[in-house]
């Protein structure tokens, strides 16, 4: 079952072509990494997929349901969240708890199970001790971690992550990739992740999409080479 289906997507901003000929799928249990040089429109592609931007050509289909036939829940971590820097009056715990709202809790009280999810999510990124801190007082790396904790608390069917490991050390990155891999292979989650660490992550991801610059285009336009299946080292 495909959670994301991108067909021949093209995107242009005013007259400038930015993306062309993008086609790929992300299914349940797929761990897909998206790479490309700086300015390769990786974030623009994610924003097209999520519906934050409208493709100029082609189509993006987001499955309305997950593999169990329930409404598909998406967990998105963007590169930068403006409110983090604006003294937003919220504790770490409040923010991570808000990840549970998407799980049918917009108008209901969070229960024991929700609180357990939140605790485990905060522990998985090493932020449980910081739960009563104001989010604006955290460092860049810590803010990134609680964004991830929030998404883990949501327990989405599809993770869409934009350079989520910025500010993490090697060990934390390794732990994070293992956690994602566990989510995709054991719990059937789909993952689409923009990253620069393709050497580190290739042992965990199933597919690799690289955005490459089109040589024949007069604009700084990017396209995808192919969607490579990644071979796994023998365990």
């Amino acid at each position: 079952m495909h959670y994301i289906e991108v067909k021949n997507l093209a995107f242009q901003y005013e007259e400038e072509r930015i993306l062309e000929n993008i086609s790929f799928e992300v299914g349940a249990s797929d761990f897909v990494m998206l790479t490309g040089e700086n300015g390769a429109a990786k974030t623009t592609l994610l924003r097209n997929i999520l519906g934050l931007l409208k493709p100029t050509k082609g189509s993006v289909q987001l499955s309305p349901i997950n593999r169990l036939g329930e409404r598909l829940v998406i967990g998105y971590v963007s590169q930068q969240v403006a409110s983090f820097n604006a003294g937003f009056p919220s504790t770490v715990l409040e923010l991570v708890q808000s990840g549970r709202y998407q799980r049918g809790k917009w108008f209901k009280k969070l229960d024991k199970d929700d609180r357990e999810h939140v605790r485990r999510s905060l522990e998985s990124v090493g932020m449980w001790e910081m739960r009563h801190k104001k989010i604006g007082e955290l460092s860049g790396g810590q803010k990134q971690r609680i964004s991830l904790a929030r998404v883990f608390a949501t327990d989405p069917d599809l993770f869409v992550l934009d350079e989520p490991t910025t500010g993490m050390d090697t060990n934390s990155r390794e732990e994070f990739y293992k956690l994602l891999k566990h989510n995709s292979s054991e719990h059937g989650k789909g993952i689409l992740m923009v990253t620069h660490d393709h050497e580190e992550i290739r042992h965990y991801a199933d597919k690799h999409i690289e955005l490459v610059r089109k040589e024949d285009s007069p604009w700084r336009c990017f396209s995808m080479d192919s969607c490579k299946e990644l071979s796994k080292p023998l365990s």
Binding site: L50, L52, P89, S98
Partner: protein, 283 residues
């Protein structure tokens, strides 16, 4: 005590109590959505609504609500068009509202100057029972909407893209929020005045944001601060005959300065304590 026996003062206190309940809720969302000046824009526009009402002989509060609601929708459209420079929409509509108000007042041959003054600077004498009832209905609506939708509003305010991917109707929510802000300004304006209504909405939340780490905490402290500012402002206004909006704003500003000062002192004391305990542990 004698002031509490006057009907107009009783209505003024009732209205102030209700404004104190809704101002911090709207104020906090306005600040966090970087729309503090939107309240100012809408108050300028609402002058045009009042001028229109006085010109055509209809209750100015009703024409005001209509005009402000339309402009609140236009504001949201312009905010999206000029996403990077969202203050442009504020600059355009603020001057447009003021210009329109002046033209409409000019067409009225100066007959409504007295009423316009009341709307500009506010008046506690003119608060009618009808206005208190309108405020009560508005307070109930805003209170209920906040209680029901506080979780979606929290996400919308935190990050619109996160809210969108979570499946929230962000456009509809933003427009409804703007309209509610507009209606609040239209109903509150005759009491506190067009020039200072935005300060009364924004200041309690701005102060309480420095006093609480939690979202609901900011709103609760904001309500207490608004009550202090509104009630003491009314008393001052009654005793020395100053415009209520100006008295309330000045009192809230004094609270703001005291808060900053106290926070600095507390921070200093905490730091000194920490240094002392570190020194002792080294010894």
């Amino acid at each position: 005590m004698e002031m509490f026996f006057h009907g107009f003062m009783q209505r003024a206190f009732q209205a102030s109590f209700l404004i104190s309940l809704i101002a911090p809720i709207l104020g906090l969302f306005l600040i966090l959505r970087r729309q503090s000046l939107m309240a100012d824009t809408l108050s300028h526009v609402s002058l045009a609504g009042v001028a229109l009402g006085l010109l055509i002989g209809v209750n100015p509060t009703f024409t005001n609500i209509l005009v402000v609601s339309v402009i609140a929708i236009v504001l949201e459209y312009l905010r999206v068009v000029y996403r990077t420079y969202s203050e442009i929409s504020i600059a355009i509509l603020m001057s447009a509202g003021m210009a329109l108000a002046l033209v409409l007042m000019g067409l009225n041959d100066g007959g409504a100057t007295l009423s316009m003054n009341q709307f500009l600077f506010g008046s506690i004498v003119t608060i009618s029972e009808q206005q208190v009832w309108m405020l009560l209905i508005l307070t109930i609506i805003i209170g209920l909407l906040y209680l029901i939708f506080r979780k979606p509003l929290y996400i919308l305010t935190f990050d619109e893209e996160t809210a969108f991917t979570a499946g929230l109707p962000i456009k509809t929510m933003s427009v409804l929020f703007n309209i509610l802000t507009g209606i609040t300004i239209a109903v509150t304006m005759p009491i506190v005045g067009a020039l200072l209504v935005s300060a009364i909405i924004v200041l309690p939340a701005a102060i309480s944001m420095r006093l609480s780490n939690r979202f609901n905490g900011v709103i609760l402290i904001g309500i207490v601060l608004a009550l202090i500012g509104m009630f003491s402002g009314l008393v001052v206004s009654y005793k020395i005959g100053t415009p209520p909006g100006a008295s309330i704003t000045l009192i809230l500003l004094i609270v703001f300065v005291i808060t900053i000062f106290m926070k600095k002192i507390l921070h200093y004391i905490k730091r000194e304590k920490l240094f002392k305990s570190t020194d002792m542990s080294v010894d």
